[in-house]
Symmetry: C2
Subunit: 334 residues, 2 copies
Amino acid sequence: MEKKISITDVARRANVSITTVSRVLNKVPTVNKEIAQRVDQVIAELKFRPNPTAQRLAKGTQNTAVGFVIPGYPGIFHSFYAVELMRGIGHGCETLRLDLIFHITDGRNPLRSNFAGGLIFADIIENLPQVETAVHENTPCLVINHIVKDLDVSYIAVDNVKGGFTATEYLINLGHKRIATVTGNMQTQAGIDRFEGFQKALKQHGIDCQPDFCFKGDYSRRSARQAAERFFSLEHPPTAVFAASDDMALEIISVAMENGIKVPEDISIIGFDDNPAGLFGPVALTTIKQPLFAMGEEAVKVIYDIMMDKQIGVVHKVLAPDLIVRESCSQPSS
Amino acid sequence: MEKKISITDVARRANVSITTVSRVLNKVPTVNKEIAQRVDQVIAELKFRPNPTAQRLAKGTQNTAVGFVIPGYPGIFHSFYAVELMRGIGHGCETLRLDLIFHITDGRNPLRSNFAGGLIFADIIENLPQVETAVHENTPCLVINHIVKDLDVSYIAVDNVKGGFTATEYLINLGHKRIATVTGNMQTQAGIDRFEGFQKALKQHGIDCQPDFCFKGDYSRRSARQAAERFFSLEHPPTAVFAASDDMALEIISVAMENGIKVPEDISIIGFDDNPAGLFGPVALTTIKQPLFAMGEEAVKVIYDIMMDKQIGVVHKVLAPDLIVRESCSQPSS
DNA sequence: CTGAAAGCGCTAACAA
DNA sequence: TTGTTAGCGCTTTCAG
């Protein structure tokens, strides 16, 4: 462990003042060529690196870095959801020339927001204490895709009610009347909201919401399988199903095929997420795409405004999801 | 744009010294309860945030952040290669309690390495000038998967020669004698090295390397198709093919199927990359897996040692790739 | 063209 | 328990 060398060491060795060293560091043109060269040489010899912290302090540079906090569970980097968000945030930071600091954390550690001027939280479930701390420390914060009630914090989220509504209305407009749904985990906002959108669409088009057609799932393939088996064993089975996730939609398609039921001829299936996995398999999945990339990008803009005091108070934004039509839905045959 | 408030403002307003404010900021327990409370209140009123830069300078904190530089081309976050690397680096940073700063860049901008104590470059092709600058500024640097010749910089790479060798030898051990290859882009190190490994394996096992069996591809599916058509039209076609990428391997399988040639019964195909796409499709692809995650993790360790002066001079590491046996290879039938 | 000196905002002895 | 006084390593007037 060598002792840190500073600008003073360089100055001494080159027989100049630290001011001059600072000048060559900053490429001030008014420095004598020879001296500059000598200084450069000493810098190289000593392998001197100016301390960026001190530079920033002296220059009074604003802290232009945003931290992106994501849960560190395995597979996070393979999650379509997280990666899309990252892309958007990465792009946003690039545009605004902000540094992007990743905080991959299990939510336990205090999260020293060392250099970050603002924090974006991707998943609040594990990180709620960290959000609270950050808010309490006056750190600009933004939560993605989670509508926070108990805390006065900004958020930007996708409109899951609208997503459920859009999916269901699409089915209705295709001519379906017997529409079922398998919901997401009803402990989660997304699960509740997507189901609400489903009901709303039915109601608005004067279609009854049969209890038989509403299966409370939990996003798991297992629950989707149970739902599908229930639906298919009904005397009057549905002609269309809205699944609250692509994963579940895919599982329903599997069950259908196992039972010789054709998609979309015999039954239409629509998912939610626009997971690339929906592209493979026997039929490309029609689904609802969350504007993940846009959300990430927007998140950066918002946090930037907050950091720069252009924005006072918290901001709440809700983005609309898009319908992606592929092959798994058609008009009812009967 | 409000004037920045500093610890002095807080001190004045709370009628205490800045030291006391500093103490409550750092939660030093020896502060009078009432005073602490008063200070806290003022902090809240003024929405004061301590300047992290000044804190770091005063505390003399080491710069424990590593920058990860990746090209900003679209789709980078969906590239299996890049994402695996990120995962490894993310994990490494977490383990070493380092901050991770992403620099998503097109290679044009100067890359102000603001807070990073060290830099890891994921793809040197677009970023070479940045690497040069960084090296010149004595910034600890590490290049991933590119063996740099003209620059005295550390790198950590995968052994592509060994990868090609392993793939080919596996085919040989299965009993194949008529082995073809479609190479990657021979302008790239990976392309050259994998081909070299192929030749080396053949030679070592006393098998002639027929020119007919060596097709110079470029990683594209198009080139793989041409290669496959050539191979299949030969009087004595090969019984096995080593493709320098999974993409190409998959295309060869497609061509084979179009021609009624069965994989692996009639012909064995081995790829390179362990791309998840190889899992789908009619036969799961046998392939060579690059230790991407491990490489990222290792990269962090190495840059850390360099940053901490535990490591003097540059370090060059080469990791061995692994054979992943799945379904696309078998013993030759004839 | 160069250097002395005064900070940048905060922490950390050292006194009081 | 609180305040005074030096710095942290660098930039930046302002003289020379």
